[in-house]
């Protein structure tokens, strides 16, 4: 199975880094979509089948938390796994996000290996 992945971050540089890492992993990737904020991401989700979302938290227009809250209200979107990639290092914030339904949290700076491991765990992929 090839996975369609949506990368949401207002930094073009960070999106480019994440896309690059995704292409280096062993994961079978269908399409990679990019969005600059939560609103663009929700628009993308209306038109495309997405298997996994990697999102930042602090973004203009619509934050990652607002996006996850919107998704939770939508029967079709609420089960798409979301991994947050953010600079916020607070344990309380991570707990709060997990209560809202995000599956995993990766703190910047991250390594390609850590991102790859978390994606595999969330998608239940075993490359062995």
């Amino acid at each position: 199975m090839a996975y369609n992945i949506l990368v949401v971050d207002d930094s073009k540089t960070i999106r480019a880094i994440i896309v690059k890492i995704l292409k280096l992993t062993k994961l079978k990737i269908g399409q990679i979509f990019e969005a600059e904020n939560g609103k663009e991401a929700l628009d993308c989700l209306k038109d495309n089948w997405i298997d996994l979302i990697l999102t930042d938290l602090n973004m203009p227009v619509m934050s990652g938390i607002e996006m996850v809250s919107e998704m939770a209200r939508d029967g079709l979107l609420k089960d798409i796994p979301v991994i947050v990639i953010s600079t916020d290092g607070s344990v309380k914030r991570i707990e709060e996000l997990k209560e809202k339904g995000i599956r995993e949290y990766i703190r910047k700076p991250f390594t390609p290996e850590s991102l790859s491991e978390v994606i595999d765990r969330v998608l239940g992929v075993n490359h062995e």
């Binding site: 540089t13 960070i14 602090n58 290092g89 607070s90 344990v91 703190r107 910047k108 700076p109």
Partner: protein, 165 residues
Amino acid sequence: MSNKKIVDIINETVSGVLEQTAFMFPEPVDMASGVSFEDFEYVLVKLNYSGYKDGTVQMIIPVDFCAELSANLLGEEIGDVDPEENNFDSAKELLNIVSGQLLVDLYGNEALFSLIDLEVKKLEKDEFFSIIEDCEYHCCMVDDYPVITIFTSQEVADECKSINS
């Protein structure tokens, strides 16, 4: 927390982030022996943090350093990276990551913060010197580029006020 401890944490955090994200290896600067700031055009990136404590984190870096930073972050050659699209963006992201890590290193991972009002601008020479004359800054060198970090906390400012009053 002592000023010396804060300075050590800032230096360790900036070094750690640059090493891990951009494979750049800063070296400490002996300010007593003098650093030449004259040779570069500079970019200021700044954000405010609020929550457990309030304050500001700023970094001042040479424009040419931004280009190297972008290339290293993206794993590309400098010539292959579009400076218009990436250089300021990379500087903002560096500050964002440094600030997130710095607040955890200073106050622990139980403290809640919001990072807001991230902005970037080119500095005129007189603006640059005015800032470094007025603020307590921390400088390290990456290759030949000075990388300046300015951390301010409302708590420290309040303590200074009460000591002086």
